[in-house]
Structures are given as structure tokens and as C-alpha cells.
Symmetry: C2
Subunit: 225 residues, 2 copies
DNA sequence: TAGATTGTTAATCGATTAACAATC
DNA sequence: TAGATTGTTAATCGATTAACAATC
């Protein structure tokens, strides 16, 4: 509606720079903490200091979505958190299936924070006959062969891949055929998916390699002054 | 030594822009794939196309570390992979301890890719008496109370935190007291550590919130032309 | 040699930060 | 009211991309 929605640059999602979008979950975490601590108000200066960012950046980021503060006062923590929740789409349930019922899949299934925020794992799929037919955290574990038929009857928006690397692309293909709108991938591979399907990667080992690089630099320059 | 090492800007690590550093693990993954497929040579144009980035960016990034190609020919995949391995510090062993022997910790302990690249988990610490004294993937599980004494005798560089959120800060404090040089944190909290200790976060839920945002935008604009 | 592709400088583009009028 | 702080524009800064001489 407003002129911002006419931005169609690759680095913009719906008029908002991707750099801003990536910071939204970060804001969400700090506001959730403040809300838990029952802090009532906070200024951009204080919040930015807590987060280690620039207060102008914080205000600029929020400005893409609306004006949620009050001059001379700051922001009401609960109001701002509610807005960020709404912006992130956390005000509605999102159904997921999880493929790969190993330790990582089990860890995710056990993570209460997801269900508390409306992310519901409807079923877990695996190829291991020893786990098929059982339950993980109350969620049924089904045969991977039943995935497409299941999705036909019970559509879900997000497919989570926690299979070994070798099985990841085939799993992605099945999820796409099943009509998921997004894939959350934990396998250390670059998946190919059609562009109408969103892909979000959690590349755990890339994070460790980055740490390895930084460690090496520190070893070589032990005293950065 | 060269003029680049005089850059001391906050966005530079040792003369290299942080944006470049973050792409190194990405290059590592694609080069490892090509090497496995026994591809002998590749041009910046081809590699960049595979990775979905700009060839100039690829060459510019490599240029911060040296010149590894050959005009008119491109890059020898194995040579470039060896260089990237060296740049990332993967040519030496790095010892780690893991705190939190739950499903996530077990998943990491079972992840062969780490040990294959020289990341060695020396011990796992937990507070649950049922797992203490046992082994996970051949790695001894010890009482969390023994962490500091263990680190005194057997120093390690990286401490991995896979505890619940509530225990994460205390765990970080213990690891810092034990003298680790870096912390790899999987708990969904913002840890406070002294600036001489490196901190790398794997915020799993932030990745899911990002996906939630993108899904919401797609729902509102189902047909981006 | 001619063609191809690198390494690297210069130009462009986007993101961050500063500044300040508006206003609670 | 005076002081504080937002929302937003403009300036700065950094990252990406284009261009091309060097050269295999």
C-alpha cells in the first residue's frame, strides 16, 4: 500500500531490507527477556546498549514496520513485544513435520519453546523400523514411505530435515511434492528446491568452522590492542 | 606485515572484512563437494554460479588471502580446498568439551564430520547421575562438578554448551574459569563472557522465527512477479 | 598465438550512523 | 514548561559488483 511496498530489490523482503529482517528474532529475544523481568519501559538507547547495537539502527529498523514508541518516553516493552510477535507471524499456529527421528530430531521435538510459540510438530518420519510406530514426546513416528500420503491428508507449512546428509535431497524432494511451503534444513548440504518453496538452513558445521578461523587468528595475534 | 594487517576496523578480522570471513565455510563446503566429485578445475564464474553468488565477489574474497588461481585456467579444486582448509585452521586438532549430555549433545557427539576435521570432543559433562560414568559414542560422561578440575589437568580450546537455557550462563562462567578460549553456544540465551573469550552462537529458534516471518510475507503476497 | 580467466582497482550500491525537528 | 526521546532524513561508511590490465 505505502510506497515502500513498491521496492522490489533483491535485498528487500516486501519493502524491508534483509539486514533488518535478520535482526527481528534478535529483538524478539531481548524483548521477551525484558518482559519476563517485568521491565515496563525502555528507550532505544538502553535496549541498543543491551544488545550491543546502535540506537539509530534499532529505531531505523522499527521504522520499517510502524511507529511503536512515544517521544520523550521510549517504548512499552509489552506493547513492542506484541508488535514484534505480530511482525514475525507468531500470532498463529504453524504446522510442521520432521523427517529424521535421530538425536537431533528428538532434541527438536523435545524443545518446548517451539510448541509454546505455536510451532506444532504433527508427525515425525523415519526409515528405522525400530522407531516407526512409536512416539517421541507424544508425537507419532511414522514410516518415511507414508510421508506424501500423510501430507495429502494433513497439509503442513514447514518440513524439517534432520536426516543424514545423504538422505537430505531426496527428503526435500518428497516434502516439496507433498506441498510444504518451507523447508528448515539441518543437514550439511545445499538443497535444491523450487523458488516458490522457502529454504532456511541451519548449517551447524559452518558455525564451527567460523569459530575455528577466529581461534586461529587469535593464536597468531594473541594481544589485540 | 602487509598494509592490510594495519586495518583495525571493527568489521575487519585481521585485515579481512567480516562479510568475507563469514563466507569461508560456505566456500569450504562447495569445494569439498567438488573434490569428492573429483572435479579437477573450476573457474570463478562456474563456482560462483553453483553457489549463487557473484564471481567478482568470489575472486575479491580469495584476494584477501593470496592468489590461488591461474589466469586463463581457473582454480585447481584440490589446491584451493587445501588453501581454504589452512585459512580456516583445519590443519590442526582442536580439543573440545561438551556440557549437556541430552539429545542435542548426543547428536553433536555422534556427528562424525567434526572428528574427521580434527575437532575432538574429549569429555561430556552433565549433572544427571543416570548418565554420569557412562559413555556417549565412546566419550566419557563426567559430573559437571568435575569440569574445572578436568580443564586444569586437560586444557581444551572450545567449550560447547548444550544445556537448557537456565544453566547456560553458569556453564559459560565455569568454562571461562577453566580457561577455554572459545564458547560454542546452543542455548537460546545471550551469554556474557569476557572479551578475550570468543563466543559463537547457534540460535536455532531465531532461524525458525526468521522462517516464520518469510512465510507470513509469502502468505500476504502469494504471487511475487 | 588467440582465448580465457585471474587479481585488483574503481564505481556502484546498500546499510549504518548521525543529526535534528517533532512532540510527548 | 523543560527535558527526553522518538521517527525520519541526510551523511557516512562499507560491501558488492563492474571493469580491465596482466598473463597463463
Amino acid at each position: 500500500m505505502d510506497f515502500k511496498s513498491n521496492h522490489h530489490h533483491k535485498n528487500f523482503i516486501d519493502g524491508v531490507p534483509y539486514a533488518t529482517v535478520k535482526r527481528l528474532p534478535f529483538y524478539h529475544r531481548f524483548l521477551t527477556d525484558l518482559s519476563k523481568k517485568e521491565v515496563e519501559r525502555i528507550s532505544s538507547r538502553e535496549l541498543a546498549a543491551k544488545m550491543g547495537i546502535n540506537p539509530s539502527q534499532l529505531r531505523q529498523d522499527l521504522c520499517y514496520f510502524g511507529s511503536f514508541g512515544q517521544q520523550g518516553y521510549g517504548y512499552r516493552v509489552n506493547d513492542l513485544l506484541r508488535e514484534v510477535n505480530r511482525i514475525l507471524g507468531l500470532n498463529q499456529e504453524i504446522k510442521m513435520v520432521l523427517v529424521g527421528g535421530g538425536h537431533l530430531g528428538t532434541a527438536l521435538a523435545n524443545y518446548d519453546n517451539f510448541s509454546r510459540r505455536g510451532f506444532i510438530i504433527k508427525a515425525i518420519f523415519d526409515k528405522n523400523p525400530e522407531v516407526i510406530g512409536g512416539y517421541i514426546k507424544g508425537i507419532p513416528v511414522l514410516d518415511i514411505k507414508e510421508l506424501q500420503e500423510y501430507l495429502r491428508v494433513e497439509p503442513v507449512e514447514i518440513g524439517v530435515i534432520t536426516t543424514p546428509a545423504e538422505a537430505a535431497q531426496e527428503t526435500a524432494d518428497r516434502l516439496v511434492q507433498g506441498g510444504v511451503k518451507a523447508i528448515w534444513n539441518f543437514a550439511p548440504v545445499s538443497l535444491k528446491v523450487p523458488e516458490e518453496v522457502l529454504l532456511e538452513n541451519m548449517h551447524i558445521s559452518e558455525s564451527l568452522l567460523l569459530l575455528s578461523f577466529k581461534l586461529k587468528q587469535r593464536r597468531n595475534q594473541p594481544d589485540p590492542v
